[in-house]
Amino acid sequence: MSTALGRGRRVRRFRGVVRHLVLLAFLLVMLYPVLWMIVSSFRPNHLVLTETGLIPSELTLENYRQGWNALNKPFSTFFINSFIVTIGSIIGNLTSCSMAAYALARLNFTGKRLYLAITLVSVMLPIHVLVIPQYVMFAKVGMLNTFYPLLLPKFLATDAFFTFLMVQFIRTIPRELDEAASIDGAGPFRIFWSVILPLMRSALATTTIFTFIWTWNDFFLPLIYLTSTPQYTVSVALNSLVNDQTQQGTGMLLAMSLLSVLPVLTVFAVAQRHLVRGIATTGLK
């Protein structure tokens, strides 16, 4: 009896070890491209294309020095631009979507159902049916090659996904809290500011994280609107590095690529628990 139990435990432990080995091997294959980028960005250029392993034979910072100044503006410019656009988008989404969501979830007015339906439908609207007239419009008012075409829509609650997410979240907050505040004499603005906003912190955090990642990675819109080098965001700058790349340029391309994903990796490291929960709950609801 005791030997049978002991054997069962040993079999289970052996299975556990095998499972970990298989998963780790699969993970290594999956993450190999990223790991290779990290290592190769420190390799001298003539070794980048010949060394495919993860242990570098020589290390250098030359790729970073070269890449940082490869375009006619240093990469610091592009990072500052990307941060302006990203942080502006976050502020825009947080304010405009939370205001709209509060009205849609809590206040009574005619047309509410229609507004909600519009929000839901616009989540699925591809940007391509809007972008051409938007471009013409922004061109007419002289806003091409500025950040306004990227930022203004965010301040007008056009990321319907987040509005919808916040509506769903506010609906889970007990109405008694609003009513109690209302009895104490608070109006809708006071209730929004002091009751609802503090209680929807987790939805606001989800919005912040996803806006950060999506805006930072965005390529299509900056490519269309930002036409001169001083206005480039990091993603557009990287793309123009690719377009005038030569064989000697691979090392610096990898170095700048690595720098470009560091902000996203940092957000991931800091917020991964919240991020995973965000996906799971928005997926379900």
Binding site: V34, Y115, S122, P153, L156, F219, V242, S260, I279
Partner: protein
């Protein structure tokens, strides 16, 4: 009585005003950023607008031009291939890994985060750059293949394989549907599996009769979401092919061709028509998914 109703009426109207103050940015956005451009692009799709001269109405000219445009059909075929191959593979990987991680052993949260990482990076220009390197003629893929004695190719320069590298890239980002599946699997009561085992069901039977039906709403959700996303994929094809969609248009995604027409050739009427075709097709496919879902998606609350 009527006095009270009158009071409630004013309160209602007052709340309506306040609501519209809260909705002011949203309403402005709806009109300026969504509705007007939507109508304008529908109008432009019937014109020859080229940004420089004012639009002339040409009826269905753009649509009939599309019919005979070889590159247009090429873009359609490339995009459909990409969607049909990469989305099912991506979801299969997502489901497989979610089921493995649902066993709840030590370190699952580490694996969950690590497998999710590619989803964060997948849409970035940086990742497309890495893909260019690893699938290049001197890239890692070829050097690994040469170790096991298989001669590689320049995956990106070869029209027969260039699209495959982008399919691999999309499959690689299975992390976010995986997390959604994982959340769904956690909702399935353990007793279901146990009672099925008592009744003598094996793992295949349990998968088919418990996991798939109970997870079907999420499979449906991921399928719709990833299909819509895949139809609109742009960045990876654009960066990997240096904006050309080459070699010989083998990576000419629909949105990339649309971008070329609108913003490189300034054929904005034609591009608007293409955008509306995309909208209608994606809308029809989504509607089709919803229609088909009646036959295979199972909602446990009976709705």
């Amino acid at each position: 009585m009527s006095h009270r109703r009158g009071l409630a009426g004013t309160a209602q109207r007052k709340q309506g005003k306040v609501a519209h103050l809260f909705l002011l940015p949203w309403l402005l956005g709806l009109v300026l950023i969504t509705l007007v451009p939507l109508a304008a692009s529908l109008y432009l799709s019937f014109t020859d607008y080229n940004l420089l001269s004012s639009p002339n109405f040409i009826g269905l000219g753009n649509f009939s031009e599309m019919f005979s445009d070889v590159r247009f059909w090429h873009a359609v075929v490339v995009t459909i291939k990409y969607v049909l191959i990469s989305v099912p593979l991506q979801l299969a990987f997502a489901l497989l890994l979610a089921m493995v991680l649902d066993k709840g052993f030590h370190g699952t949260s580490f694996y969950r985060s690590a497998f999710y990482l590619p989803s964060l990076l997948g849409s970035s220009v940086a990742l497309a750059i890495i893909w260019r390197q690893i699938f290049g003629s001197d890239g890692i893929v070829n050097s690994i293949l040469s170790v096991i004695g298989i001669g590689g190719t320049n995956w990106l320069q070869n029209p027969a394989t260039a699209l495959d590298t982008l399919v691999v890239l999309n499959v690689w980002t299975f992390g976010s549907p995986m997390i959604i599946f994982l959340a769904g699997l956690r909702q399935i009561p353990r007793e279901m599996h146990e009672s099925a085992e008592v009744d003598g069901a094996g793992p295949v039977r349990k998968f088919r009769s418990i996991t798939i039906p109970l997870l079907s709403p999420l499979i449906f959700f991921n399928l719709v979401l990833q299909t819509i996303n895949a139809f609109q994929a742009f960045t990876q094809a654009s960066v990997v092919s240096r904006g050309t969609g080459g070699p010989v248009d083998s990576t000419l995604f629909y949105t990339l061709y649309l971008y070329q027409q609108a913003f490189l050739n300034y054929q904005m009427g034609y591009a608007s028509a293409m955008a509306w075709v995309l909208l209608v097709v994606v809308g029809l496919i989504t509607a089709g998914h919803f229609f088909a879902s009646k036959y295979w998606v199972f909602y446990s609350d009976g709705s």
